[in-house]
Symmetry: C2
Subunit: 461 residues, 2 copies
Amino acid sequence: MAETERDETGREDDDYALDTRAVETIRAAIESGDAAAIDAAMEPLHAADIADLLEQIDPAERRALLALWSGGIDGEILSEIDESIRDEVIGALPREVLTEAVRELESDDVVDLIEDLEEPQQEMILGALPQDERVAVEKSLTYPEHSAGRLMQREVVVAPEHWTVGEAIDFLRAQTELPDQFYHVILVDPAHRPVGYVTLGKLMSSKRTVRLRDITEDSFRTMNVLEEEGDVAYAFNQYHLISAPVVDEGGRLVGVITIDDAMAVLDEEHEEDVLMLAGVAGEASVADGVLATVRQRIPWLVVNLFTASLSAFVISRFEGTLVAIVALAALMPIVASTGGIAGTQSLAVAVRALATRDLTASNAARVVRRELVAGLLNGLLLAGLLGLGGALISGDALIGGVLALAMIVNQIVAATGGVLVPLALHRIGLDPALASGTFVTTLTDVMGYLAFLGFATWILI
Amino acid sequence: MAETERDETGREDDDYALDTRAVETIRAAIESGDAAAIDAAMEPLHAADIADLLEQIDPAERRALLALWSGGIDGEILSEIDESIRDEVIGALPREVLTEAVRELESDDVVDLIEDLEEPQQEMILGALPQDERVAVEKSLTYPEHSAGRLMQREVVVAPEHWTVGEAIDFLRAQTELPDQFYHVILVDPAHRPVGYVTLGKLMSSKRTVRLRDITEDSFRTMNVLEEEGDVAYAFNQYHLISAPVVDEGGRLVGVITIDDAMAVLDEEHEEDVLMLAGVAGEASVADGVLATVRQRIPWLVVNLFTASLSAFVISRFEGTLVAIVALAALMPIVASTGGIAGTQSLAVAVRALATRDLTASNAARVVRRELVAGLLNGLLLAGLLGLGGALISGDALIGGVLALAMIVNQIVAATGGVLVPLALHRIGLDPALASGTFVTTLTDVMGYLAFLGFATWILI
């Protein structure tokens, strides 16, 4: 892994990701039905890359690959596979392969795997688990979707708060079954409430007689089991947590969340924000089919059809002006379009700042004020350019003036609207990214046409 | 930390973030110059929250707070402070406070702190470091910006590959200075090349006689010191890494990157993508002033002024048609606007998929084909609605037909353009998010007007 190849296509071919040439080799082997070549090409791939491979190839290729490949889907690959093809892959697996795969997984991965499956598939997988793990998974499924309870693993390493380093080390060294990943020993009081944690590194380097409670980490924070996973991810990133104990309403330890799961949530939350801002409903993947794609996109397109009709209505009120000076019809989209860009800019900054809790009630007024002044300045600069250009091209200085005035007004509306709309959505408890884009561009379109045609009617007619 | 309060403003007041009421208390104390009240309110705050507080208040309040607060800025707060106000805060600190703060930091945090500072401030901070750490920081600064070399910490815990668990434990327990955060013991060969790593948990639970090389982790991957930090973050998320050794060109161990730093990079990369997609140039923060805001936004606004003029030119070619049927002027933005939304949707999915390496040369053709068919279906659905509505409102079935035809064409152009533009940018080595939005909306605007007015001229005139 030490060397990285780069070619003219940018980072696509760096070796931290699935290699395009490997995919092509495998596709060729599928095409020719060459099972040995498939096995050879799949062998060096990481489970996450195999999952990506399955998403990137056609459904027909996917079926052929699953039938030909002797390696077979294991638990790790299964838990990496994107939801868009998970049902399909699970449905294609022989029952004993599925059972084997599921038994390898930790309880949090099983939960993640089955929470979005259909009832019969869910039952089949639960049935494949040993009794105690089945109970653990069913318990996790009782917590709300996207909660800390779903994200946590139930395997924890705890020690009574009064223990010494020596006692903890002896205890750990006597264990036969420790979790795969653990970074802290969690200290609990007699009621099993976490009171602090000690890193394994600190435990290693401290004298045997030192009390655990004297070497706990300052960064210690617990998460409520009902906490939103997005808030959990935020807390991990904000406070540089590596793991965090999860507690129930009574403050008792019920599990632990580790940073790798929090990082995956942060990444998903970002995906949601980007897609939501762009007006895509729900989760979208390049592996989705045509109908899933249409379903994700048509809702906001229909909404936009109606909001765009608002602009049409505004313009229709100025037909007299347009009949008098038809050249205005060609010029009118410029102000609206530049307003749309400015609104989107302001919106992106505001939505991002709300997500990172940097835009709050404390500084909202100052940020709106800043947007207003920045919008005015941008408006003046653009008005200068557009006014001059418009006057030269149309040969009419007054038309240049109308363009300039409308530009200033719409830039101010765009910049302030771009921050006020997400603030308002956030205030009423909605996701600020939800449809902000449609609202803001409707606002800038309507204001753009209104200002331009309004000033034109007033000044030119 | 176990309880979470929520009020009607949504997640702003959950207790994993800076509390708005705490900010208001502190602002009131600043206003009244009450140092004791400031100290009391600041005391429970985490360094990351203090940094957020400093970003959220006015520059004047910031100066007053720094003068009044007895706690003072320590290394941790300093390294949390956003770049937009870092120069200002460092400039305001007395030299001895700054020296003290910087000496607390690990080398990677010092690098992160000073890499964007002006030369004199950089020199001052380097001068405050002990000789050996100064050398370490200067060495890191010789690596390119945004490289693994800048991100890594140089403090590593290594063991020869032939050691046993017992030898490693005895070695660790004899150390007086281990890094604050470490999760693995890295095994090296005699040339100091990393060959694997063992988690501390595995070390704890294995017998003393077991060889380290027999209990290494499968997930082991090294990073090249020149690797882009975005690729490092991708690898951590893709392969669920907790830490990764960093090697030089000769494969020798030079440092280690831990997941908390990778998570912070992932978050910054997201921010860049969202802002870039929206046409904001460079880093933007709610703490930026008006002029910084104007500088970030004016470049793409000016570009849009020119691209919008393309639409104006297209419309101006149809003045004869508009004179004949002035009602067309009001209807023409609908097709263009709905195309803009569809293009943005397709674009967001494509840019995100390129970032997660899910859209590659292997599946690009299939994704473009899917977009084409989805665009056609969306176009047909929207054409039905718009055609019917347009015919009813205008009282002219032919106008409805023109709207419908133009909608179908533009939806197809939008959906395919939304994926082809970022693919093309990626192909020529540019960031696919860079200005994609401007390109795509220009395309959908021009096509929207051209299709609508073209069909209108052909059918109605």
